[in-house]
C-alpha cells in the first residue's frame, strides 16, 4: 500500500465527468431494474399489467411458506459451490499448463477462451445434446461403458449435467484471468526459488498461488455471482429444473415464475431475496476471505 501513487486531479468536475458514463450504465442497468424489482415485489399484477394491487409482504410470506422454495436454497448452495469450485480449479490447471506451452500458445489460448462467447442457453442445449439419453454422443458412450445415464429421471445425473454446462461456460473467463495473473508473476521470483532447490509443486504453492490470490479472490466472487444469477438459461435448456424440482436453482424459479408463469410479483420477490443473498455473500467474502489475499 505504501508504494501507491496518488494522482491528484485538480478540477473537481473532471473526476465526476470521467465517472459519469460508468455511473450512467450502472444506474440504468442495475439501480433502476433493482428498484423496479423492489416495487414489484410488493405488488400483485395480472399478466398484462392492467390492474395492480399493493399487497405488502404477501409475496414474501408466500415464498417462505413454500417448502420447495426453501429446498431450492440448498440446491443452489450445492450448485454454486460445485460450479465455483470446479470452475476455478479446472481453469487454474488449464492456465498453468497453457502458461508453460512454448509453441502454439496463441492457438491453445484462443480455443480455451472460445466458449465464453457462447450464450448460456446455447451452452445448455449443447450439453443437452451430448448427454441426451438415446441421441447424445456422450450418453451413448456411457451406455456402452455400462453406466446408466438418465438426467430426465435421475437427479444426480441432471445436476452433473447442469454443473458441467455451467462450468464449461465460465471456464474461459476464469482461464483468461488466471493466465494474465500467471504472466504477471515475475520470473525472477520463481527462478530464485528454483535455485534454492524448491520443486515445481512447492514453487506453485508457496510462490505462484499466493501471488495469484487477488485474481483467485476476484474470480471466486464473480463465479458465485455467476452461479446464482446467470445460469437460468442453462437450466431451462438442459433440465427445466427437473427431475421434480431437483435442479431448480433459485434464479431458475425467478425466471420460471416471471416469464413462464407470468407471476411478476412472486418473481420480483424472489429476485429481491436473491439480491439480498448475493449481497450478503459478497460482504462475507470481502470480510473474511479477502483478509487472506495478498495484493502485490
Amino acid at each position: 500500500m505504501s508504494t501507491e501513487k496518488r494522482v491528484q486531479l485538480r478540477a473537481r468536475v473532471l473526476p465526476w465527468l470521467l465517472l459519469a458514463p460508468q455511473m450512467a450504465v450502472i444506474g440504468v442497468f442495475f439501480f433502476w431494474p433493482a428498484g423496479q424489482a423492489l416495487l414489484q415485489s410488493l405488488q400483485q399484477q395480472d399478466a398484462f399489467g392492467t390492474s395492480t394491487e399493493w399487497v405488502g409482504l404477501a409475496n414474501f410470506r408466500q415464498l417462505l411458506a413454500d417448502p420447495s422454495y426453501l429446498e431450492s436454497f440448498r440446491i443452489t448452495a450445492v450448485f454454486a459451490l460445485l460450479v465455483a469450485g470446479l470452475g476455478l480449479a479446472l481453469a487454474l490447471l488449464l492456465a498453468v499448463m497453457a502458461d508453460r506451452v512454448v509453441r502454439g500458445a496463441g492457438v491453445y489460448q484462443t480455443l480455451l477462451v472460445w466458449p465464453y462467447a457462447v450464450a448460456p442457453a446455447i451452452a445448455g442445449v449443447l450439453w443437452l445434446f451430448m448427454f441426451a439419453p438415446s441421441i447424445g454422443v456422450l450418453s451413448y458412450a456411457l451406455e456402452r461403458l455400462g453406466v446408466a445415464w438418465n438426467p430426465l429421471l435421475d437427479s444426480g445425473d441432471a445436476t452433473t449435467l447442469i454443473v458441467l454446462a455451467a462450468v464449461w461456460k465460465q471456464l474461459s473467463y476464469n482461464f483468461l484471468f488466471f493466465l494474465a495473473g500467471l504472466q504477471a508473476i515475475p520470473r525472477s521470483l520463481i527462478e530464485a526459488a528454483a535455485i534454492d532447490g524448491a520443486r515445481p509443486w512447492r514453487r506453485f504453492w508457496t510462490i505462484v498461488f499466493p501471488l495469484l490470490s487477488p485474481t483467485s479472490f476476484f474470480l471466486l466472487v464473480i463465479n458465485i455471482v455467476y452461479a446464482f444469477f446467470d445460469t437460468f438459461g442453462i437450466v431451462d435448456a438442459a433440465t427445466r429444473g427437473g427431475p421434480g424440482k431437483d435442479t431448480a436453482v433459485l434464479v431458475y424459479k425467478v425466471y420460471y415464475d416471471g416469464f413462464k408463469a407470468m407471476d411478476l410479483g412472486g418473481s420480483a420477490a424472489q429476485s429481491v431475496v436473491l439480491m439480498g443473498v448475493v449481497i450478503a455473500l459478497t460482504v462475507v467474502q470481502f470480510r473474511y476471505v479477502e483478509r487472506r489475499v495478498q495484493y502485490g
Binding site: R240, K260, M262, D263
Partner: protein
C-alpha cells in the same frame, strides 16, 4: 440523365407505395417446422385475396415464449394485433380485462357476420366465457385446435409380430403390445407427450370423470383438482409399472416425446393430433393414428377427449381499420374451403362444422385413414365433466404435475403419493388465482 432516371424511379416507387395504402396487421405465433409453412401460406393467400390489409406473421418461439413476448410488448405499448395463445393460457387471457378485445366484438367492429353456432361446439365452447362480464361471448378465435390421439409406428408393429391394422384400443392392450415390442428388441415401446394433458385431462374426459371440480373450472374460480379417484390412481400405477418394466419410457416434459416418435425411436405414443403434419413430413416409416386408449370396464367410456392447441386473441388498443382487417382475416380463416384445407394439412381439428362436412365429402378421411380420429373423438356430445379443462395458473399446475410425476416414473414414490402431492401443490395455485381474480 442519370439523375432524372433515379428521380423518376423514386417517384414511381413512392407512387406504388401510396396506391397500396395497406393496413399492416401483426400476427405473433408459435408454429414451427411444417406448421410454420402452413401459417405463412395462410397469410400469403389472404394477402393475395384482397389488397387493403397485409397480415404479417412472426414466429415468436414456443407458446409460452410468444406469450411472454406479447405481454412485454403490451406493457411497452406495441403489442401485436393477433396473438396465438395455447389453451392453458386461456384463463389468464380471459382474466386480463382491458388487454384483449373479445372476438365477437372484433367481428362487430369489422362489420363481419359472425355466428358462433357455425363452429364445432367442443371447440367454440372452450373459448366462450361462462362467467364474468363477457359471459356467453366467444372471446378468442379457434385457430389450431387439437386433441389427444394415439400415434403408432406400423413398421415397428409388423416387426414385433403385431397387426398394424389393429392398434390397441384399451390400456391393457397397450401394455400387451408394448411387451411384444420390447420382446422384439424395441428400446422404447411407448411414450407420451404432455403428461397432464394426455394422461389426466383427456383421460378424465374420455372416462367421463372430473379432472377438477366445478366442471373442470368452467363453473367458477373456486375449482379444485380432483384426479385422485381410484381410476386415476390405477392408471398412473399402471404407467409406473410399465415404466419399471421398460415398456413406457419417459421422454421429458411438454412435447419432448414427439421427436422420439417421429425419429422412430419410440413405437407408440399419446400426443397431439397436430403432430400429423410433422410425422407426415419427417417420419421414415408407415404410421397410424388411433383413438386414445381407455379402460373397458369403466361405464360411459369412451366419452370424448379434450381440446388442446391454441386460439387467436385480439389485443386491445388498436385502430378501428386494423380491427376491420383482423375481422376480415378471421372470416377468411373460417371459410369452409380454407378451414378444410388447414385441417387436412395439419391434423388440427376443422374449426367449423361446414369445414368438417366439406372434408368428409371430399373423401379425405377415406383416403387417409386415421385423420378422422381426432374429429370423431371431439364431435360427440359433451358432458359437464368432459367439456374441457379451464384452470387459472394452468401453466404452473401442469408443471407441478410433471414435477411430482417424475418421481413416480423414476420409481421413487408410489402413484398415489405423486398424485396427492400434485393435487396439494396444484390447489395452492388455484387458490392463488381465485384470490387474485375473484373480484
Amino acid at each position: 440523365m442519370l439523375k432524372k432516371v433515379t428521380l423518376a424511379a423514386l417517384l414511381l416507387s413512392l407512387g406504388v407505395g401510396t396506391s397500396h395504402a395497406q393496413t399492416e396487421i401483426q400476427w405473433w405465433h408459435s408454429m414451427g417446422g411444417a406448421l410454420g409453412d402452413w401459417v405463412n401460406d395462410l397469410a400469403k393467400d389472404f394477402n393475395a385475396s384482397q389488397k387493403d390489409y397485409k397480415i404479417v406473421p412472426t414466429f415468436k418461439g414456443s407458446y409460452d415464449e410468444s406469450m411472454a413476448a406479447a405481454i412485454a410488448a403490451f406493457r411497452a405499448g406495441n403489442a401485436p394485433h393477433i396473438l396465438q395463445v395455447f389453451e392453458v393460457g386461456t384463463a389468464t387471457m380471459m382474466a386480463s380485462k382491458g388487454a384483449v378485445v373479445p372476438v365477437t366484438e372484433v367481428m362487430k367492429l369489422g362489420g363481419v357476420k359472425f355466428d358462433p353456432a357455425a363452429y364445432v361446439p367442443a371447440v367454440a365452447g372452450y373459448y366462450t366465457a361462462t362467467v364474468g362480464p363477457y359471459s356467453g361471448q366467444m372471446l378468442s378465435f379457434p385457430f389450431n385446435s387439437s386433441t389427444t390421439v394415439f400415434h403408432y409406428n406400423k413398421d415397428a408393429f409388423k416387426a414385433a409380430g403385431l397387426d398394424p391394422s389393429k392398434p390397441p384400443s384399451t390400456w391393457p392392450e397397450v401394455a400387451l403390445a408394448a411387451a411384444k415390442l420390447k420382446a422384439s428388441g424395441h428400446k422404447c415401446p411407448f411414450t407420451t407427450s404432455w403428461v397432464s394433458w394426455t394422461q389426466l385431462e383427456s383421460f378424465s374426459a374420455w372416462h367421463n370423470v372430473e379432472f377438477a371440480t366445478k366442471n373442470n373450472g368452467f363453473g367458477g374460480l373456486d375449482t379444485r383438482l380432483a384426479f385422485n379417484t381410484p381410476l386415476h390412481v390405477r392408471h398412473i400405477e399402471n404407467l409406473a409399472n410399465m415404466a419399471k418394466q421398460g415398456l413406457f419410457v419417459y421422454k421429458g416434459r411438454g412435447n419432448a416425446a414427439d421427436a422420439a416418435f417421429v425419429s422412430g425411436e419410440c413405437a407408440m405414443m399419446t400426443g397431439s393430433s397436430g403432430l400429423y403434419a410433422n410425422v407426415k413430413k419427417s417420419a421414415k416409416f408407415a404410421f397410424g393414428i388411433a383413438p386414445l386408449p381407455y379402460y373397458p370396464d369403466v361405464p360411459g367410456a369412451p366419452q370424448n377427449t379434450v381440446i388442446g392447441g391454441a386460439s387467436l386473441w385480439v389485443m386491445a388498443g388498436k385502430k378501428p381499420p386494423e380491427y376491420k382487417g383482423v375481422a376480415q382475416f378471421f372470416a377468411y380463416l373460417s371459410r369452409p374451403e380454407v378451414a378444410s384445407e388447414s385441417h387436412k394439412r395439419t391434423g388440427y381439428l376443422p374449426v367449423t362444422k361446414a369445414a368438417y362436412e366439406l372434408t368428409d365429402k371430399s373423401g379425405f378421411y377415406k383416403d387417409n385413414p386415421g385423420t378422422d380420429v381426432a374429429v370423431t373423438q371431439m364431435i360427440r356430445k359433451t358432458t359437464d365433466k368432459s367439456r374441457g379443462v379451464r384452470l387459472g395458473n394452468f401453466v404452473q399446475v401442469r408443471t407441478i404435475i410433471d414435477e411430482e410425476f417424475e418421481g413416480v416414473w423414476a420409481g421413487k414414490r408410489t402413484a398415489k403419493e405423486g398424485i396427492d402431492a400434485a393435487i396439494k401443490r396444484g390447489n395452492e395455485q388455484l387458490e392463488r388465482f381465485q384470490k387474485a381474480n375473484g373480484k
